[in-house]
Amino acid sequence: MKVLNHIVAAVSIGVSILFAAPNQTWAQTKIGAVLSVTGPASFLGDPEKKTLEIYVEAINAQGGVNGQKLQLVVYDDGGDANNARTFATRLVEEDKIVAMVGGTSTGSTLAMIPVFEEAQIPFISLAGAVQIVEPVRKWVFKTPHTDRMACEKIFADLKHRNLTTIAIISGTDAFGKSMRDQCVAVAPKFSINIAHEETYGPRDSDMTPQLTNIRNKTDVQAVVNTGFGQGPAIVTRNYRQLGITLPLYQSHGVASKQFIDLAGPAAEGVRLPAAALLVADKLPDSDPQKLVVVNYSRAYQQKTGQSVSTFGGHAYDGLMILVQAMQRAKSADKVPVRDEIEKTKGYIGTGGVVNMSPTDHMGLDLSAFRMLEIKHGDWTLVPDAGS
């Protein structure tokens, strides 16, 4: 009967909307994290989540912050900006968090910014694009280096080696495209000429057609690959398969030792800008970051059995900056915490030494990036890289 349809439907909808149940609130300092643990960005989100969980547990084991334990509420947006926005609203309205460390990708970060700006909750983003902190927004900060900095580091090194005509092969995902755009924008500053460009889909499994086209451009002197995940590994393998001997630069999206394992012998000679975290054991003892990165590396590897990645490192930095701000403010209130985050000076993290200010909500400069080269299946620091 039609009437039954109506009743059934009415009840199911009403009840189901109510069932999007809120979490219970206890007297704890609640911090939220919306991360892309599944989906196309899970390569980034998974280490971020693991890192946050490991260190919240560690902090709580030592008594918490300002005498109160931290409660971490993690939601998985699946790489979808719409979901990110919904979970951000949920964190603010239902879970009533005091601060947020998250936003794996630029898209989800941009979707969530209005929610946190309106609720006036400090938001430390883990995404790479420069437009997250330019223009500066009062409540939004970020820990990863910007993609523009990565380009600048690469171009400085190219210039140092007298390579001025390059080709760019980029992934069509947000990370790859955003960094490619930044590279195109800053190339003139370093007198670099981008002679040819190719792209590939982030889930593509063979880039030999694109690389063949690059190889055929006889004026190209070096190749830059902007992308993350498996793409760069496949590009590197295809590169050697085709016998291309030009210098190859990867991006910081490559981020972990797994890249070397996957690319195999093809990775020999590849250079990329990366955080000191990747070469933790090779840093001289006098390096200010050595202690932090070695400890984080060991802890992460021990707890997860996986090699460390810079994406997890950014989450670590975000959490620590937040926690130290709370300790300095001696409270978890949004306004004093935000002010203290902005006053972060000399914080030594996995990404570099952070000095924030009212006009700089990221706090890293170009020295935070190290130029690395892969030799004999391991990372090495390139000495005397251009700055």
Partner: protein
């Protein structure tokens, strides 16, 4: 009219949903619930369009999120590049979607079954690829910001506003759909669904009717897409991705093909369930998969027809 006649009036479902729409906010403790409600109504609108195409006309579309994307980006591009007010962009997007559906539909709808599925799949992918690549217009994979809707000088933004706008539009959409179904066109579509060959023999212009429904369903999806963009004040290319299209089809099939209310139930299920399941953290996907399989095995006509049939059996 007697009570019986009222309940059996063909627009009674509309009244029921309108009542829910009005009363539900009384139970909402915070904006979060308004947002969920807004998303449910917006996606219900899109899935209603797909339902008209699949449930009533018996076609299939694995690329309908393409029209979601066209409607969404119409609002974004209209505001950013063309300086058009948002309400005009919504209409513009709907018209554009209708036009594209008209042009593409003619050849595509001559295909049947799985071939039609692949063709619509291809269409959806093409839209997604264009939206991702033409960054000068669309902002590329990072998407575009969308300014909020302003009507007669009043800003309409936020979950509350869109709960009402989405809900009222859905109710209007329901009325149109129910009228369509009970009209001669609707009965013709029913006949086509049963057997295209027989319909042709009766002199029905099968191609034209299928095209009309395709265009209408595209417009529904386009409006829903525009609303989504205005609700989030941001749009990214994965609004028109393959997974989004599958989600729309799932809403229709789970809710009940051919049931107008089923579109709403299916949308509610697929939007609310992940919110509930998120407490399962890593096991969420597995449970979601089991839920989908379970519903389809045990309520194979969809939730609304399935439960109604079961209740009917219980009464006799």
């Amino acid at each position: 009219m007697s009570m019986r006649a009222l309940l059996h009036h063909r627009l009674a479902p509309v009244a029921a949903i309108a009542v829910i729409l009005l009363l539900l906010p009384l139970l909402f403790p915070s904006t979060y619930y308004y947002r969920i409600g807004a998303l449910v109504f917006i996606f219900a609108l899109a899935s209603l369009g797909v339902n008209l195409l699949m449930g009533f006309a018996g076609q299939v579309s694995l690329g309908h999120a393409g029209f979601l994307g066209i409607g969404a980006y119409a609002v974004a591009i209209g505001a950013t590049h063309l300086g058009a007010p948002s309400w005009l962009s919504i209409l513009g997007g709907a018209s554009l979607s209708g036009l594209i559906a008209f042009i593409v539909g003619r050849p595509i709808l001559e295909l049947k079954g799985h071939y039609l599925a692949v063709a619509t799949l291809g269409f959806g992918l093409l839209v997604a690829i264009v939206l991702t690549n033409e960054a000068a217009w669309t902002g590329g994979p990072d998407g575009m910001l969308v300014p909020h809707l302003v009507l007669f000088g009043f800003p309409l933004r936020g979950s509350q506003a869109w709960y009402w706008i989405g809900g009222i539009t859905f109710v209007v959409g329901m009325v149109l759909a129910l009228n369509l179904i009970d009209s001669p066109t609707g009965r013709t579509l029913h006949a086509i669904h049963d057997s295209e060959v027989a319909s042709r023999m009766l002199g029905i212009d099968v191609a034209r009717h299928k095209l009309v429904i395709f265009v209408i369903s595209a417009i529904y999806a386009s409006v829903a897409g525009s609303y989504l963009a205005l609700l989030n004040e941001l749009i990214t290319p994965d609004v028109s991705g393959f997974l989004r299209s599958i989600e729309l089809v799932a809403m229709v099939v789970l809710g009940g093909m051919g049931s107008v209310i089923g579109s709403l139930v299916g949308a509610a299920l697929l939007i609310v369930l992940p919110q509930i399941l998120t407490i399962l953290q890593e096991y969420e996907q597995m449970v979601l998969g089991i839920v989908v399989m379970g519903f389809m095995i045990f309520l194979r006509q969809g939730i609304v027809p399935g439960i109604a049939a079961a209740l009917g059996r219980m009464r006799t």
